[in-house]
Amino acid sequence: MKKVNKQQIDRLYEFTRQHYVEYYDVQTELVDHLANAIEEYWEENPDQDFEELLQKEFKKFGVFGFMEVVEKRQNAMTKKYYKMILEEVKCFLKLPKVIISIVLSWICFFIVSNFNYGLRILAVGVVILIFSSVFYSGFNLRRLKKRVKSGNKKLYLLEETLLTSGGLLTVLFFPYYVLNFGNFFDTSETISLQGQIFVSFVFTAEFLLLYISVFVIPGKKEEILKKAYPEMELS
């Protein structure tokens, strides 16, 4: 039976890249699919042209081509990422790490309740941390893409998701919109006790999420990627 050869496999990888699939893991799956389909056509008639068959098979993916596959894959990976975050958060609600959460909440509460500008200090502090994390991940992402471009590295979707924290950093700004902290600033001296307790918990959550997404999960990167992409060792 006629098989797709090495050059043709390379051409298939190139084809997926030309059709906006930049992630190697997604490319690999599509390449195998296209190769299988082409080989099946050849089983009926081995003289059919490779390029013609490729176009014929690509049409089956619909008007958006591979874009939907990539998009859905991104959604799936983001979901996977948030599940990891959730697992880590759960650890901070159980012994022994819950002690860290309690101490952190207490520190936040202490700052908010004892200093006139306590809330401002915390709010600005967290914003600075979020921005620093955004810049840090942006820097790392650029470095990764540079290596990919020079051909030294393959880009895996989950790796990118880990680097960009799956958009979590943007989510961390959410309390600022909801609670309208801008208004809090003017009346920071008069927050009720319940209000102080509440914002202390909000800030604790922000600190923990930042810590998890910037340090904990990236620290486990190799392990996570190896499990998600067994092909890393083969390619």
Partner: protein, 112 residues
């Protein structure tokens, strides 16, 4: 394809069922198997299959394995423990649904 909308909601159940029967499968193999089993009546589109597989994987129902076959890498999917349990639930759900639809399409004459 006219029946695409009809089976769309059952695609993940079909995938789970196939994987529960066999061991591990790769994407193209799944499309071919469904085509063969239904004598070409049901054609799973490529654009629907992979997103469904990826979703099941993200939900922890499928695990992946990669092997080098010929001169390319092939990604196999297999059920996780959670996936095995879920495939039983989903199949029961689908069977109930088929019965319900049958009741509408082909109502039994009532005795009263």
């Amino acid at each position: 394809m006219s029946n695409a909308k009809l089976y769309k909601g059952s695609l993940s159940t079909i995938i789970l069922k196939l994987l529960a029967e066999g061991d591990k499968m790769y994407g193209y193999e799944i499309t071919q198997k469904v085509k063969k089993m239904t004598q070409g009546e049901l054609k799973i589109t490529e654009g629907a299959l992979y997103p469904a597989l990826h979703k099941l994987e993200a939900d922890g129902l499928l695990d992946v394995e990669v092997k080098k076959v010929d001169n390319r890498l092939r990604k196999y999917y297999k059920l996780t423990e959670k996936g095995t349990k879920e495939s039983i639930n989903k199949l029961a759900e689908l069977e109930r649904f088929i019965e319900t639809i049958q009741g509408i399409v082909n109502p039994k004459p009532s005795l009263g």
